[in-house]
């Protein structure tokens, strides 16, 4: 039996995955990262537990609801790999308990998503990129590893409506990165790879060349500008760009605006969790901010970032959904989790479930439960379920919401 599935491994959300269930279990068209999620979906699964002892699912939900109801300051964190429907419930829980809410985007690409949502920078969809874009710029991103099918499905390689000859003649690739990585290996002879010492200097170079002055990277930048004049360009910004800018996002946004004066240049953030943008959009709709929000104070501040909350010991309880902060945050930060009540909802055993007071196992989005997710360009994609598991994030969060 062949089942059409959507891979929720990264923000590409490839919806052409075919899963063969009968006989040998096969996953077709998914990249290594995505195929691993389907093939190993039964491995390392979490079990419901309270204070390290195995319990039933209902008991764990009951205990979690009690802890949340008793808590004075709750922090809700994660939610980047669960569906939109479940995210909305999590936001409701945070609203009901006047809690802090944050996700990985506060140290990932949240700033770029926010700028796109507020309309500060011109953005477009990946389908438009495939059909029309001529210059493809990867700035501080390594899609071969972060989202393997990004280049072959949307940007550089495919043939589109107005780009019939695909990568052979109708695309121009630019890779900007601090080292030669797998993505830069694809750059052909007449295309450009820049290894900048600082992103600010490179932005200055762009501005200066547009004004007709000499600049540090004049050779490469002049070549790129010449190509940009020939057709639409799109910049895929990754974490390298986010940290390379050192907080000075205005400088980059101004560059994008300036480039748009003489050609169409769009920006799409690239390389993050499957539904990070979905969370940003849901919270933005509700509150006007994309992350680091406090429902108690009705505002968003830098101090409300999850890692800063932990180090300053403000929350007494955390609800972590589909994330592994013990693995992803520095030890100095994550060690504070052991001092407070930690409730984790996750399909798999992680470092965080090991130290949690209450563990509630859920289903894997895209494999065991359907729903909606938001792709990196803001397009909503439907997920199918390949296997049955009715205890998904929506079920668990609804039960918790009822009881608090």
């Amino acid at each position: 039996m062949l089942i059409q599935a959507t891979c929720a491994g990264c923000a590409c959300l490839c919806d052409d995955i075919v899963v063969e269930k009968n006989g040998e279990f096969k996953v077709k068209n998914a990249c290594r990262r995505g195929a691993g999620i389907f093939l190993n979906y039964l491995e390392g699964r979490a079990k419901p537990s309270i204070n390290g002892e195995t319990s039933s699912l209902e008991e764990a939900i009951e205990r979690a609801s009690e802890i949340i109801a008793d808590s004075k300051k709750l922090a809700v964190y994660g939610m980047d790999t669960i569906t939109l429907e479940a995210q909305k419930l999590a936001i409701k829980i945070a609203e009901k308990t006047d809690a802090f809410i944050d996700d990985c985007s506060s140290f990932c690409l949240g700033n770029f998503v926010e700028a796109c949502l507020r309309g500060e920078i011109p953005t477009t969809t990946l389908d438009y990129v495939r059909d029309n874009a001529y210059v493809i710029i990867y700035w501080g991103a390594n899609p071969v590893h972060s989202s393997p099918r990004h280049m072959s499905r949307y940007s550089y390689f495919p043939r589109g409506k107005n780009r019939q000859r695909g990568y052979e003649e109708d695309r121009f690739l630019v890779v900007i990165d601090v080292r030669k990585d797998h993505t830069s290996k694809i750059v052909k002879k007449n295309e450009v790879f820049i290894e900048p010492e600082s992103d600010a200097e490179l932005i200055d170079s762009f501005v200066k060349i547009m004004e007709g002055k000499a600049a540090k990277y004049s050779g490469e930048v002049a070549g790129i500008l010449r190509e940009i004049k020939k057709g639409d360009a799109v910049v895929f910004g990754g974490l390298g760009l986010r940290y390379g800018l050192e907080g000075d996002f205005k400088k980059f946004y101004n560059l994008l605006r300036k480039l748009n004066e003489f050609s169409k240049v769009y920006f799409i953030p690239a390389g993050f969790h499957s539904n990070m943008r979905g969370f940003n959009e849901s919270l933005f709709e509700k509150t006007g901010y994309v992350n680091r929000y406090s429902f108690g104070e009705q505002t968003s501040r830098k101090e409300f970032e999850f890692s800063k909350l932990l180090t300053s010991s403000i929350p007494d309880t955390t609800l972590i959904i589909g994330s592994d902060p013990v693995n992803s945050l520095p030890f100095d930060v994550s060690m504070h989790l052991s001092k407070i009540n930690t409730i984790t909802i996750d399909p798999r055993r992680t470092f965080t479930t090991e130290i949690s007071d209450v563990v509630i196992p859920s289903s894997i989005s895209g494999v065991e439960n359907g729903g909606t997710m938001v792709r990196s360009d803001g397009v909503k994609i439907k997920l199918n379920s390949v296997f049955e598991n009715k205890f998904d994030d929506t079920y668990i969060l609804e039960r918790i919401l009822e009881r608090i």
Binding site: K26, N29, P148, S152, P158, Y167, T183
Partner: protein, 155 residues
């Protein structure tokens, strides 16, 4: 990958012409391109004194067995399943322009390459431009592989 010179050094080097080639060197070249088999060199198998050389040759030619008829070798350990090779393939683009040519999954029955369980698999070599008598030495898939997971015999 063995070079023709490495093969030649281990052959009898007598230019006996039993295999049908004029020299042992040209035989070595044709072993690499798989137009001739090692078994065609009769003295190598019959005479006792070449026994050690024969063993070394068999070891040396082991990777050739893994390659397909067009000389394509996929290192599955290196492959990330990015599908660049599937999309760039000129045959895929002409046979399946709205499927693989546009970056999506295949809509035709037997594509040349397919991503299965996260790594690229060779499904149907007959369609490849490198197959048959009037072949072209196309290297589109190898050129665009970011992790060097695809190689060809002649390189």
């Amino acid at each position: 990958m063995p070079t023709p010179m490495e093969i030649f050094k281990l052959l009898p080097k007598t230019n006996c012409k039993i295999c049908g080639e004029q020299t042992c060197m040209s035989f070595a070249f044709k072993v690499i391109t798989r137009e001739r088999k090692l078994e065609d060199c009769k003295p190598l198998f019959d005479e006792e004194k070449y026994k050690k050389q024969l063993e070394e040759l068999i070891n040396l030619l082991e990777p050739l067995e893994k390659a397909t008829e067009t000389g394509l070798i996929v290192e599955e350990d290196l492959c990330t399943g990015c599908a660049n090779c599937v999309v760039v393939c000129p045959v895929h683009a002409s046979e399946d322009p709205y499927g693989m040519g546009s970056g999506k999954g295949p809509t035709i029955e037997n594509p040349i390459l397919l991503i299965e369980n996260g790594v690229v698999k060779v499904i149907n070599m007959l369609l490849c431009r490198r197959y048959g008598k009037e072949r072209i030495l196309c290297v589109a898939c190898r050129e665009n592989c970011p992790t060097d997971a695809i190689r060809f015999l002649e390189e």
